[in-house]
């Protein structure tokens, strides 16, 4: 059973890795977007799914990663890899500087505080000449979608491997303990402040790397698109749809919802957003613990699974 699962995962990876060699340009471009969204959802999973802190600040990490690459390549004429490192450094610094005060807040207050961070960053970056102010930066173009695709895939594998490690490490157990009962975790010896900040930073590293790849691929960025809060909403929806606090849930959620959203927008453009919203609402009502939980339990409970969730909402 366990061996079979690994074989399936390796096979799925092989197929995914081969997509640029047999797929159309459109498919590869869709793939890059879906993979990067999956990385973002997986990154959010660390702070939101495991530590239980619903962060709206992950799009800030994404933006910092984008600007890290853009500033390094455009202003300093450094290679892409150095830009990625610079973006990660910015994200980690941000996680420590702002995580310390913000992670003292819980629940809705934490969400609201992080929500404000993205707006503040837009204002700050719009006034920095090194970041091209509100006009933005244009990166040197590299027309190699195959490379961007494989880079995104490698990043997603790294993010997922990290989350897998969380499920069997002391650090991961500390985060889960914080999510389940923070005071209980502290009296058992979990350094809650440190663990939360580390989780925020780790989640930021992956978001920043995704932002960096995206910036170089798109070759243009401006403050409003780099720190777009709707991207943060997207990653939360995808992680929650797939199953927060699970290893493969957020990846699954990102793939499924990216596909749904793509199909809808190509078929029925104007009302696509509405349908997307409808899918999310229905999913939250009928499978609040995500696709991962559905797949685990459906075998034993069958269709009752949906009825029970419906009842749990008292609708």
């Amino acid at each position: 059973m366990k061996g079979l699962r690994w074989i399936l995962i390796v096979a799925a990876l092989a197929v995914l890795a081969a997509v640029p060699w047999f797929g159309s340009d459109v498919l590869v471009q869709f793939g890059i977007n879906a993979l990067l969204l999956a990385v973002l959802a997986q990154g959010w999973n660390i702070i939101g799914g495991y530590a239980g802190y619903a962060s709206f600040g992950n799009s800030v990490f994404y933006g910092l990663g984008s600007y890290g690459v853009a500033i390094a390549m455009v202003q300093w004429e450094l290679p892409f890899a150095v830009g990625m490192v610079f973006g990660v450094v910015l994200a980690v610094a941000f996680a420590f500087l702002l995580g310390l005060p913000v992670l003292r807040l819980r629940g809705h207050y934490f969400a609201i505080a992080t929500l404000a961070l993205a707006q503040v960053m837009i204002a700050i970056v719009s006034n920095l000449s090194i970041a091209g102010q509100n006009i933005g930066l244009v990166l040197p173009p590299l027309n190699d979608d195959r490379l961007f695709y494989e880079l995104s895939l490698v990043l997603l594998v790294a993010a997922t491997a990290t989350v897998f490690w969380l499920t069997r490490s002391r650090f991961g157990f500390g985060l889960i303990a914080i999510r389940e009962n923070e005071e209980g975790a502290a009296v058992m010896g979990v350094n809650t402040t440190l663990y939360k900040v580390l989780a925020f930073a780790l989640s930021g590293v992956f978001s920043a790397l995704a932002g960096g790849i995206h910036a170089y691929w798109i070759t243009f960025l401006d403050p409003a698109s780099a720190f777009d809060i709707s991207l943060n909403v997207k990653m939360i929806i995808m992680a929650v749809f797939g199953g927060p606090g699970t290893v493969l849930g957020p990846v699954l959620g990102a793939f499924v919802l990216s596909t749904v959203s793509e199909l809808l927008s190509s078929e029925i453009t104007s009302v696509a957003g509405l349908f997307f919203g409808l899918v999310v609402v229905v999913a939250v009502i009928f499978m609040p613990r995500g696709v991962a939980d559905l797949m685990r339990r459906f075998r034993t409970t069958g269709w009752r699974y949906f009825v029970e969730n419906l009842k749990a909402h008292r609708i």
Binding site: R170, F173, A177, E180, N181, A186, V187, M188, G189, V190
Partner: protein
Amino acid sequence: MSAVLEITNVTRRFAGLIAVNDVSFTLNQGEILGVIGPNGAGKTTLVSLISGTLAPTAGDIAFEGRSITALPAYQRARLGIGRTFQIMRPFPGLSVLDNVAVGALFGHGGGESDLARARELARAQLDFVGLAKFADQRADELGGPSRKRLELAKALAMQPKVLLCDEVMAGLNLVEIDEVIDVLKRVRERGISILVIEHVIKAIKSLSDRLLVLHHGEKIADGDPDAVLSDAQVVEAYLGRRRA
């Protein structure tokens, strides 16, 4: 006997309310100290002050001769102070075994870093409190009495030197109370000093080496259980003044 915990003139105010007022006492090595008092006497506040989830307004708390008043809760846990919660707080989404494993992964001295080894230690604690058969259940599926035991197992997995028990017997029937008393006595045999907060006076009398009584946040008696329970002030606090 040497003191493990020394509480010196500790006070805790909540706005206008003084929950714990200038209380001093010691917990000796290998001792079971019972703390009783009517509802609202400040018992749980006292445990929170020692475990570090609340900071005292005034006074000092020392553990093994060193002041821990300024230390956060997790550092006190690493020094060897374990506590249970009156309102049981398992990690609901985790299995019973993994709830206890968290104690083994962290706890006294920073804990065991290997998950498999931590789970082994956790299983031993579940055996010790009699919960082994529930190991793979989710913690929130346990009934009340079992949750009390889970609280104990979680704290014990931390390998503490001092165990603070906040009403681990409340809501249990007589048979279950006897079982918990037996568990606590065996915990003491491991060399762990225990502070037990309890409502069930009969239970605590047979368990404690020494009894301390809190009333309106103040210590009104401290000593041999029989002597304390026959003390006029204690009787009055519990039963009210006898009217002739």
